[in-house]
């Protein structure tokens, strides 16, 4: 009996979630009283296996197929490994690539799947916790099945640190090339721009609460008054109101300023991924239940259009009419 966890790497490096999934996997394996097996698919599998040899891992299966992620190869490999190991739980990362195969692999193997899991427990049947409605509530689910698949939210579990003594085994798979319908041709980095928000000591960050592009001068004036840099959540960039290089979050920049002032930002997990390492987080939001307050150090529950002009004036600036 085993828990099987699949790791993730990109362009030569294991991603942090690979070590977090070891912790989550060990936790579940302990509850179930089973082994923990890892799969490393593609790239420098031997080097990756050495790195992943952390305390609590029983066996690491290396599958030397392909350099980078390709979901066709991952699908076939996991199918064959699953048939071989017959694991109780299949744990996969809830990342962009994880979500590019997890729902399909679960479908193909006939496994019930719950995604974006933030907590798990076994009491006869496995109980998982996830968020809903933009993080405003949590829900628990029981999965009453002999075998199931879960995707694990990144950064919810600590990375496994201690060295381990797992057995490392090369696993041979038969890849049917005809069944691979996607070709990865390369990568592109979203480039440059006018400002490097990762360098700023103070960030004034604006979200959808600003409502209209015409209102942006208000937060620009605040940034000016504080000598701060302006950044934003994703919808502001999606709308074309600020350039891409101002976006904080999972698909934008990771920032760690001394002070991060989130204005009209709800605190979605993909946003928080980019700013939770900030030294001091201040949130201004009309909704006292907005998830941003869970990670804020200071908060003001009020209308930004009331508060921001006052701050500008307290710093000797002049608030524009918006």
């Amino acid at each position: 009996m085993t828990v099987l966890a699949v790791t993730e790497h990109r362009r030569g490096d294991l991603r942090d979630v690979s070590f977090e999934i070891v912790t989550a996997g060990r936790e579940l394996a302990d509850e179930l009283g089973t082994d923990l097996s890892l799969a490393v698919i593609g790239g420098d599998v031997d080097g990756f296996a050495d790195e992943l040899n952390r305390d609590g891992v029983d066996t690491i299966y290396t599958i030397a197929e392909g350099e980078e992620f390709n979901h066709g190869i991952y699908m076939q490999t996991i199918e064959q490994l699953h048939a071989e190991l017959d694991p109780t739980a299949l744990l996969l990362p809830n990342t962009v690539n994880g979500l590019d195969y997890a729902p399909a692999v679960a479908g193909r193997l006939g496994l019930p799947i719950v995604t974006d899991v933030i907590g798990l427990e076994d009491g006869g049947v496995v109980e998982v916790i996830r968020e809903q409605y933009g993080g405003k509530v949590e829900t628990t689910y029981d999965i009453d099945a002999e075998q199931y698949a879960l995707t694990i939210r990144p950064t919810e579990w600590p990375m496994a640190e201690e060295a381990g003594d797992a057995a490392i085994e090369a696993f041979e798979v038969d890849i049917d090339e005809d069944a691979i319908g996607t070709t990865v041709n390369g990568f592109e980095e979203v480039s440059g721009g006018d400002v490097d928000i990762t360098e700023a000591d103070v960030l004034v960050s604006v979200g959808r609460g600003i409502d209209e592009e015409e209102n942006l001068p208000l937060v620009e004036a605040l940034a000016d008054a504080l000598g701060a840099t302006l950044s934003s959540s994703r919808p502001i960039v999606d709308n074309g109101w600020l350039p891409q290089n101002r976006q904080v979050g999972q698909s934008g920049k990771v920032v760690t300023p001394d002070v991060y002032i989130a204005i009209g930002i709800s605190g979605a997990v993909q946003h928080v991924a980019g700013m939770k390492g900030s030294d001091t987080i201040i949130a201004i939001n009309t909704d006292p239940n907005a998830p941003i307050f869970d990670i804020a150090d200071y908060g003001i529950v009020d209308d930004l259009f009331e508060v921001v002009p006052e701050i500008i004036e307290a710093f000797g600036g002049e608030a524009p009419d918006v």
Binding site: F69, V96, L99, D100, Y101, A102, P103, A104, R108, P112, I113, T115, D116, Q132, Y133, G134, G135, K136, V137, E138, T139, T140, Y141, I143, D144, G181, T182, V184, N185, G186, F187, E188, E189, V190, D224, A225, L226, G227, A228, Q250, S251, G252, V259, T280, P288, N289, D294, I295, A296, Y298, G299, I300, D303, E306, V307, V308, E310, A314, F315, G317
Partner: protein
């Protein structure tokens, strides 16, 4: 060419809300078109405008209430819509990923689209999974989190950018037919024009129950059961400054000065 777009009506929660049993109280919810699906609709409509003979069909699993949202999709340029609902779905505790994929798959089998556009995630459930699960259910290729799409129908390939974490995009060719999950920012969704809204009233919107799409009530059976919903205990020890805007702003200003932030 036919493009099928999956369109969900999502629930948005009021600032003040109540939980009623295993879900948020109906009175605390408002409904809207899922943000990600708005971009998927736009991508489909732009494709139909750029090429001859492209039909855009939407599919929604949802109650009658969802028709308002579906009309919005029609007003933005979709040609017709299919809505699946049934007493068995109404009574189900919730619809898991497998069930939703199977329901939409039944429609896809009938419609035989060349391309399915789905959203990366639903704003309320955030499973981030339905599109890829659907692809597997109907034997299509797929790509998740697409933020650029170039369709070459003649060679049967969609050249896409997949948005990975950290500002990196993966450049991938996907064989058609395929399901693509569309990311926000890929285009600029239009507002429905008055003319569009008027036209939408006359476009076909067909409601189907399970038997009409060839499925039984047991499609809702699930080994996954929701057991509780609650407001997470805030781990935060945030200091919330209270008072008028002038007072809270003064607190914040004093704090910032204390931190060494001075007039810029």
């Amino acid at each position: 060419m036919k493009i099928l777009v999956t369109v969900k009506e999502v629930a948005e929660v009021d600032d003040e809300f109540e939980i009623d049993g295993l879900d948020i109280a109906e009175s605390s919810l408002e409904y809207d078109l899922n943000e990600w699906d708005d971009y998927a609709i736009e991508e489909a409509v732009q494709t139909s405008e750029a090429h001859d003979d492209v039909e855009v069909v939407t599919v929604t699993v949802g109650p009658e209430r969802a028709e308002e949202t579906i009309r919005m999709a029609l007003a933005k340029g979709a040609d017709r819509a299919i809505r699946i609902w049934d007493d068995a779905l109404e009574e189900a505790q919730f619809l898991d990923i497998e069930t939703k994929a199977a329901l939409i798959a039944a429609v896809a089998e009938e419609e035989q689209p060349d391309l399915v556009l789905s959203g990366v995630q639903a704003g309320d459930d955030s499973n981030g999974a339905t599109g890829v699960a659907l692809a597997e259910a109907i034997g299509f290729e797929w790509a998740a989190v697409v933020n650029e799409l170039e369709l070459d129908a003649d060679s049967g390939v969609a050249a896409v950018h997949r948005e990975l974490e950290g500002g990196i995009e993966e450049l991938t060719d996907v064989e058609l037919p395929a399901v693509l999950t569309i990311q926000t920012g890929i285009n600029e969704p239009r507002y429905a024009s008055l003319r569009g809204i008027r036209q939408a009233q006359r476009k076909p919107l067909e409601a189907r129950d399970l038997s009409e799409i060839g499925l039984d009530a047991d499609i809702v059976d699930s080994s996954i059961e929701r057991t509780s919903m609650y407001e997470p205990e805030s781990e935060s020890d945030a200091t919330v400054w209270e008072g008028s805007a002038e007072e809270t702003a003064a607190e914040l200003a004093a704090f910032l000065r204390d931190k060494g932030v001075v007039e810029g």
